[in-house]
């Protein structure tokens, strides 16, 4: 039987990696993926705790997270397409018009 601590630590590590990717990738799409990675890490923690404490709420929450992620991706990728169409590039550093 696997101790819950392992799951939680795994999720922490994944989250951290997600953060690193979020900060370091240049491609908008990849940054997006990093965010998805973080979401997944959180989901893992949810499920782990949910089963640990026999709480279904955790799983319900994961459900909602997934739904929201889906919506987010739909809109986000739409934005990405528009950006790519207008700026002819997917590099976040080329998307820097909005500043002081």
């Amino acid at each position: 039987m696997v101790p819950i601590s392992y799951y939680v630590i795994l999720s922490a590590v994944l989250f951290g990696l997600g953060v690193v990717g979020f900060v370091f990738k240049r491609n908008i799409i990849t940054i997006f993926m990093a965010i998805e990675l973080m979401l997944n890490a959180v989901n893992l923690a949810f499920v782990a705790f949910g089963t640990e404490f026999n709480q279904l709420d955790g799983l319900v929450f994961v459900f909602f997270v997934i739904v929201v992620a889906a919506a987010e991706v739909a809109v986000g990728l739409g934005i990405v397409i528009v950006v790519a169409r207008n700026r002819k590039s997917l590099n976040v550093e080329d998307v820097n018009l909005l500043k002081f």
Binding site: G16, L17, G21, F24, I29, V60, F64, V67
Partner: protein, 168 residues
């Protein structure tokens, strides 16, 4: 060492491998692939935790739909290799250390928290049956559920509006 443990080790390794791959890969498609790997491995972990429905949803929605969208967009925009512009100073000097620190912090912290649980966690995880889940979802959480449906609808419309070609 039990099957569960073996599975956990294998899948955990896969997830981390995938995550690292996501970061290191130059090609967006490779990143996407490694992310898919992470998701599938996570689904297996969910099964291991007894949350079959979530596992199935994870694959169906995340791997099967969301990531497909990603790949699709990548193909559509024909996103090539990532250009290696140099990192913004802030990102390098603040982001990198903080990210690492964050990782360490979380790891240390959670281990500190739950290391004691290792013994307590011996009880077999109850299989969260789909029936219970749906009961909860449609009684206690019915309002958020409906709201998410609206959210999805709005998202679809937004995506359409965004991706539509402006009529010249």
């Amino acid at each position: 060492m039990s099957i569960a443990m073996a599975l956990f080790i294998v899948c955990g390794a896969l997830t981390i491998f995938g995550a690292v791959g996501l970061i290191l890969a130059k090609e967006p498609v490779h990143s996407a692939l490694s992310l898919i790997l992470v998701m599938v491995a996570l689904a297996v972990l969910y099964l291991l935790l007894g949350a079959e429905f979530i596992a199935a949803i994870q694959i169906l929605v995340y791997a099967g739909a969301i990531m497909v969208l990603f790949v699709f967009v990548i193909m559509l925009l024909n996103a090539g290799e990532e250009v290696r512009t140099n990192l913004s100073r802030l990102a390098r000097w603040v982001g990198l250390p903080l990210g690492v620190f964050f990782l360490a912090e979380m790891g240390y912290l959670l281990f500190h928290e739950y290391a004691g649980r290792a013994a307590g966690a011996a009880n077999a995880p109850v299989v969260a049956s789909t029936t219970d889940l749906s009961m909860k979802l449609f009684t206690e959480f019915v309002l958020p559920f409906e709201l998410t449906s609206i959210l999805i609808l709005i998202a679809v419309l937004g995506a359409m509006v965004l991706a539509r070609k402006e009529p010249q």
